[in-house]
């Protein structure tokens, strides 16, 4: 038994040892900075930027409350709350849109013959290789007043004046769904690719309709892929700031823009740091909910 223990321990030691370079890098360049963000959120704001090294709860106070500029009355910061709400709403919508488009796409790719599957998969990833800014500009060309959609609709005589899509929540939603679609397709593909299609035969054999097969057989089995896709799309959507900035026109802010504002024109780094921490917490909580949901629905492992 002693030897056994030693072996077990050396296994662990080896695992840790081999992981050390990666862990060091991550702790130094990824986790460490997050702790500093948390620290900045409880400091006092500097004149133009930065912080003074004095403890202050003002950053956190201003996440939830606002003090009127003129009469100093304190009220609930409903503007902040509406920004958070809009972000969560748009992120959920983005996740759903990418899922509705991504599931059939992943299914389509996974059911191609093995020879051409890699090609279709490659086709999905190519846009991913293109710079995010360029992709956002591309979608702008589609939705702007003189863009493809409006031009086509006007040429077809369906509308007489362009529909204002640019600078609306719809534009932000379209942009984010466009940008993050591959992130949904890839994990779904991975799950469907492993899927045993004989199970569908069994489903049909047992009198299930196509819809019942989809709901009762396919979706539960590829659920890990669905959850991975939801997380991979939801989290970046929630933290997005480039796409909402360009397509929302600086008015329809998401949390990302709001945080960015505090580090730029708002000149309030502690508030920005506190907002970042809140965003991080939202992500953590949604992670926990996802995990709970996936383990509760699946008691048999």
């Amino acid at each position: 038994m002693k030897k056994q223990h030693r072996q077990q321990r050396s296994k662990g030691a080896n695992g840790w040892l081999l992981s050390t370079p990666a862990l060091l890098l991550l702790v130094f360049a990824a986790s460490g900075p997050l702790l500093i963000v948390a620290l900045y959120s409880v400091l006092e704001k500097g004149d133009y930027s930065g912080v003074r090294w004095i403890l202050s709860g003002d950053g956190w106070f201003r996440v939830l409350f606002e003090r009127d500029i003129f009469d100093q009355t304190v009220s609930l910061a409903d503007a902040n709350l509406s920004i958070f709400w809009r972000s969560v709403k748009l992120s959920i919508a983005t996740t759903l849109v990418t899922f509705v488009l991504g599931l059939p796409t992943a299914w389509f790719i996974a059911t191609r013959p093995a020879r051409v599957r890699a090609f279709w998969l490659f086709l999905i990833t190519i846009p991913f290789w293109t710079n995010l800014l360029i992709r956002t500009f591309a979608i702008m060309e589609v939705v702007r007043n003189e863009g493809i959609v409006n031009t086509a609709l006007m040429k077809a005589g369906l509308i007489s004046a362009p529909i204002q899509i640019m600078y609306t929540d719809t534009a932000v939603l379209i942009g984010m769904a466009y940008v993050y679609l591959p992130l949904m397709v890839l994990p779904l593909f991975a799950a469907i690719d492993r899927f045993d299609f004989r199970l569908i035969e069994a489903g049909y054999d047992l009198y299930a309709s196509r819809w019942q097969v989809l709901r009762g057989v396919i979706l539960p089995i590829i659920k890990p892929g669905i959850i991975a896709g939801f997380i991979l799309v939801f989290i970046p959507s929630l933290g997005a700031y480039v796409t909402p900035r360009l397509l929302g026109g600086g008015k329809n802010m998401m949390i990302g823009n709001f945080i960015e504002l505090q580090f730029g024109q708002g000149q309030n780094w502690p508030l920005g740091a506190a907002l970042s921490t809140v965003l991080l917490l939202i992500v953590l909580v949604s992670r926990v909910i996802y995990t709970r949901a996936s383990s509760r629905d699946n008691p048999h492992g």
Binding site: D47, I69, F70, G250, K251, L261, Q265, Q267, N268
Partner: protein
């Protein structure tokens, strides 16, 4: 995650070439630097110029203030120069190294925000007004009421450039105040009017030139040079000078205290004060440059452009923005943040 560099590259990435031989790192407003002029400078001196963009004075100040930005030259607006100086961010210019300093036009040689041009030389100057597409709205463009209380035709079609001082001060002038006022009654009016007008705006975005000429914006609080560029592409665009008062600005090139390519920076400063070169800058961005004799080299269309040549009747309404006290800045920032979110 694929874009966190938008924040970090600008800050960190630009430091890459800081030490290289014959390198110069210029931090300037977006779409503001003539590529031909840069090419000519590189050709003459062998110095490669890296340009990074910003879209507002605060953005630039924040990044420079964060320290060790790696930039050599920055182009702040007049009212920001004293802030940079106060924070110790700028190096005092050695005029002996800038023979062309004498080319600065007489009225810009000694300015209130930089007495004796100790820290900066002119880049370009202009005004902030309102650009209107006459095919959408053909009323009088010369009033700031257009964005504070947009007429029916412009509701949901007007853009506001996200530059705090320009927008707030235009609104302050409209309310009868002076630049940098701390009069709470006026400021409250300003805030209330802006907040009431906000839902009628389409966006608060930078990069107005293209969108004005393409018709994505029917109107915009905008700079005169940008409006001229839009008008060249789309004759329907006109530039209005708000009669209630409008800001004038001058952006000046300044040498950062922690610049690493100081010699190259002096060569560049001297270069742009050459009238022919200054004219290239103006010819690109369509603003006046403040260098005596540069108009000889300017494109013909600028000499008569209604955006550049201020009509006599509106000249008096233009005001240079002074540098406000910290207490005013705090108030303005609060209003502006409220407006943006």
């Amino acid at each position: 995650m694929k874009t966190y560099l938008i924040a970090t590259t600008a800050l960190l990435g630009s430091t890459f070439a800081a030490m290289a031989e014959g390198q110069l790192n210029l931090y300037n407003w977006g779409n503001y630097t003539s590529p031909e002029m840069i090419a000519k400078f590189t050709e003459q001196t062998g110095i490669a110029v890296t340009i990074a963009d910003y879209d507002s004075n605060t953005t630039a100040l924040t990044k420079v203030e964060a320290g060790a930005s790696g930039f050599d030259l920055v182009v702040p607006s007049a009212n920001y120069i004293p802030v940079y100086v106060r924070q110790g961010l700028l190096a005092e210019l050695d005029h002996a190294k800038i023979p062309n300093i004498s080319n600065i036009a007489a009225e810009w040689k000694d300015v209130p925000w930089d007495p004796g041009r100790a820290h900066s030389v002119p880049w370009q100057w202009g005004s902030v007004g309102i650009a209107v597409n006459t095919s959408v709205y053909d009323g009088d463009p010369n009033t700031s009421e257009l964005f504070l209380d947009p007429p029916e035709e412009l509701v949901g079609k007007i853009n506001i450039v996200p530059e705090m001082n320009d927008v707030l001060n235009m609104a302050i002038f409209n309310a009868g105040g002076e630049a940098c006022t701390e009069d709470l009654t006026i400021l409250r009016t300003v805030r209330d009017r802006l907040m009431a007008a906000r839902p009628k705006w389409l966006s608060m975005d930078y990069g107005t030139t293209d969108k004005l000429s393409s018709g994505d914006y029917a109107a915009s609080v905008n700079w005169n040079g940008s409006t001229m560029r839009a008008r060249v592409n789309n004759p329907d665009v006109v530039y209005g000078y708000p009669k209630e008062g409008y800001p004038l600005f001058m952006d000046s090139v300044a040498l950062l205290a922690d610049a690493r390519n100081v010699d190259e920076a002096y060569q560049f400063i001297n270069f742009i004060l050459e009238p022919e070169n200054a004219a290239m800058i103006s010819g690109f961005a369509r603003y006046a440059d403040g260098v005596a004799g540069s108009d000889k080299f300017m494109p013909e269309d600028m000499k008569t452009a209604p955006e550049i040549v201020t009509p006599k009747e509106f000249a008096a309404a233009g005001h240079f923005l002074p540098t406000c006290d910290q207490s005013a800045v705090d108030l303005y920032t609060a209003i502006w943040t409220e407006l943006l979110k």
